[in-house]
């Protein structure tokens, strides 16, 4: 199984400022960089591991983050999350491109890393370098994605929006060409049944039932989850889209894992609190998280 020994794919920095800025990259701890073809040789001559890339050929993603809007379903302001992970689930073979300000860098890198997707990011090197160091520190071979909902994707915008809304509700899905009877729910979003994607996602949640959800989050509307695992161990990725810290996030997983290690970007020695395994589930609290937290769980 040699593929399992490979570490997960780390996002790359796209940098077009020219080789005279090599010091900036070095200072940020970045030893590999994606550059325009026209600059590759000059970068190489500087001793930098430079890979040429044509960003026009990449799939561009929007800036991930949160907008606050009033929603009809609640008296309180509920956030609208701009997230891209579902696009990586939909087409994992592409290479994705972000052009984002420093504040969005940890979120963009977390999106790509948690999906084990290829992504290059055009941004501020120090921000990129800090997150890269964190990701290198927790890197391990990627585990298979966990989902109990199948979405049969016809390539339509309707299907796209349905996936977006499912991801925003932390309803973990797998993109399929045909129904998978092993899953709890198989969906085929169409213009007829998913013309209102918000209502569609809510309906999916009702059909699945909250008790069957693989991951539940309590205490925040701005954190999205992605779960990988192989039965004996699991890795849960949590991305906070708000650019403000989230405190006291309660996590519930539909599987008992007696052991857990918590990694939080920007926080040393983070430890899960109020740990509980019962009735076939695991619950724990993340005392504080910034943009990204990763929980490694094992039986």
């Amino acid at each position: 199984m040699p593929a399992l020994l490979l570490l997960a794919i780390l996002p790359g920095l796209y940098w077009d400022a020219g080789p005279h800025t090599a010091g900036t990259l070095k200072q940020a701890g970045i030893d590999r960089v994606y550059v325009p073809q026209s600059q590759k040789d000059a970068w190489t001559a500087q001793g930098v591991d430079a890979l040429a890339i044509d960003v026009a050929q990449l799939t561009k993603l929007g800036k991930p983050g949160v907008q606050y809007r009033m929603n009809q379903a609640s008296a309180t302001a509920v956030p609208w999350i701009d997230a891209n992970g579902w696009q990586m689930d939909r087409d994992p073979k592409r290479t994705y491109y972000y052009d984002v300000p420093a504040a969005a860098v940890p979120i963009a890198m977390a999106e790509a890393y948690s999906r084990n997707a290829r992504a290059v990011i055009h941004t501020d090197p120090p921000s990129f370098g800090r997150m890269l160091m964190f990701l290198k520190g927790i890197d391990q071979p990627a585990l298979p994605a966990q989902a109990n909902i199948g979405v049969i994707d016809d390539g339509s915008e309707i299907a796209a929006e349905a996936m977006n809304l499912l991801a925003r509700r932390n309803l973990l899905f797998r993109v399929l060409k045909a129904p998978d009877p092993k899953l709890d729910l198989n969906l085929q979003p169409t213009a007829k049944n998913a013309s209102d994607p918000f209502a569609y996602a809510q309906d999916v949640r009702q059909k699945l039932g909250d008790d069957k959800r693989l991951v539940r989050l309590y205490g925040s509307d701005v954190v999205l989850a992605n779960l990988t695992g192989n039965g004996a161990q699991a890795r849960l990725f949590l991305i906070n889209y708000s650019n403000r810290k989230v405190t006291g996030l309660r996590v519930r997983l539909r599987a008992p894992y007696p052991k857990a290690t918590l990694h939080v970007f920007g926080i040393e020695n983070a430890t899960p609190a109020d740990y509980l395994t019962e009735a076939g589930a695991t619950e724990l609290t993340i005392p504080e998280m910034n943009a990204f937290a990763v929980i490694d769980l094992s039986r």
Partner: protein
């Protein structure tokens, strides 16, 4: 952890038949009820109302501290039947208690648990030998609490704690004590109890105001102790619909909140007859100039209803019982009000609603 389906446990009450379809509540708590839970407590159905024209100066809102002291002493004595109010307080608290004083600051700074009343409660607790660090004034939101400046009224060492330092954070709440319910398809379906209540306090004094409430009809003891001790409760309203009817009582029943809340002191020096729980327009304030004492939150809130109704009628506003959101009717609001939450709470066992069974004693100073 003990898990139980709350309404299933209530079975014989058949509440849904009376009130329409109710949400399905699931209460999770490890805490057992006390032999005599604090609500309705030692004096079910008993309400002491103390009125004094001198208690607050209308307009300036200046509170007469000496009169408040007299009102509290006489109210407590009458509640317990003791000659010395110290003995009255000693029926509820011992020197080893850690006491939470549940403020109401949702309408602060214009309407809130009067700091003069809170200070007098603290003084009485300390007279029993309870040290300042054993006393906690608490509320959910820091901006509201800070606007009142309770620290100017209570001795150093008394804690003044706002639980939800970051809005929506449940860091200050107990992850093992909660009510789970899906009202409108919201994704976060838990409302967790304040951790200080489950882990620190041994007793709680509830200090609500006398207010109209756009969702609950009125907000008194029950609303303050219920919505004021749990996270993520605003989700119970959407569109014109509010689930305050059943949610308030359901929350107030959760242990250990129910058992630890041993005393209700309603601050009615000033009130709000419209626009509550806030007081954004001072035209909606009025001056009942009274305080109510008891252990039964239902019986006290039952007395609150006519106070708010009378003032609304005097001002030409619709009754809190009128089920409308018609903006052409003065006093309507975003939600259909649910003052029936008080009777609902009585059916859960939180107190006495039947007016014929409530013993009210009025004192005028």
């Amino acid at each position: 952890m003990e898990r139980r389906s709350f309404l299933a446990a209530l079975g014989p009450l058949a509440l849904a038949k009376d009130t329409g379809d109710l949400p399905h509540y699931r209460v999770v708590t490890q805490h057992k009820p006390a032999a005599q839970p604090g609500m309705p407590g030692a004096y079910p159905g008993r309400v002491i109302a103390v009125h004094s024209e001198r208690s607050i100066e209308a307009g300036t809102n200046k509170v007469d501290v000496a009169v408040v002291r007299e009102m509290m002493a006489s109210g407590m004595r009458e509640l317990t039947g003791d000659k010395d109010s110290r003995d009255s307080w000693a029926r509820f608290f011992t020197p080893s208690d850690v006491v939470g004083i549940k403020l109401n600051c949702s309408g602060a700074p214009n309407i809130r648990s009067s700091p003069e009343i809170v200070a007098e409660i603290v003084r009485n607790l300390m007279a029993l030998g309870i040290k300042p660090p054993q006393i906690w004034l608490y509320e959910r939101f820091p901006d509201q609490v800070e606007s009142v400046h309770y620290e100017r009224y209570v001795p150093a060492g008394v804690h003044i704690e706002a639980i939800e330092k970051d809005r929506r954070s449940i860091a200050g709440y107990d992850p093992r004590t909660y009510v789970e319910v899906d009202f409108f398809g919201e994704d976060d379906t838990r409302s967790n109890m304040i951790r200080l209540v489950t882990e620190r306090f041994t007793k709680i004094v509830n200090v609500p105001n006398m207010k109209d409430h756009g969702a609950a009809g009125v907000t008194g003891c029950l609303k303050n102790i219920a919505y004021g001790n749990f996270s993520n409760v605003a989700r119970s309203h959407a569109g014109a619909k509010t689930n305050t009817l059943s949610f308030i009582g359901t929350l107030a029943m959760v242990e250990p909140l129910r058992s630890k809340t041993v005393l209700q002191i309603m601050d009615g020096l000033k009130g709000v007859w419209q626009g509550g729980p806030f007081l954004r327009d001072k035209r909606y304030q009025f001056y009942p100039k009274q305080m109510m004492f008891g252990t039964d939150p239902v019986a006290i809130d039952r007395q609150l209803l006519p106070v708010i109704e009378a003032e609304r009628k005097r001002q030409g506003a619709i009754s809190v019982w009128e089920r409308t959101t018609d903006k052409r009717k003065f006093g309507s609001g975003q939600y259909i009000r649910e003052p029936g939450h008080i009777e609902f709470a009585a059916k859960l066992g939180l107190g006495v609603y039947d007016a014929d069974k409530i013993v009210r004693k009025d004192i005028k100073l």
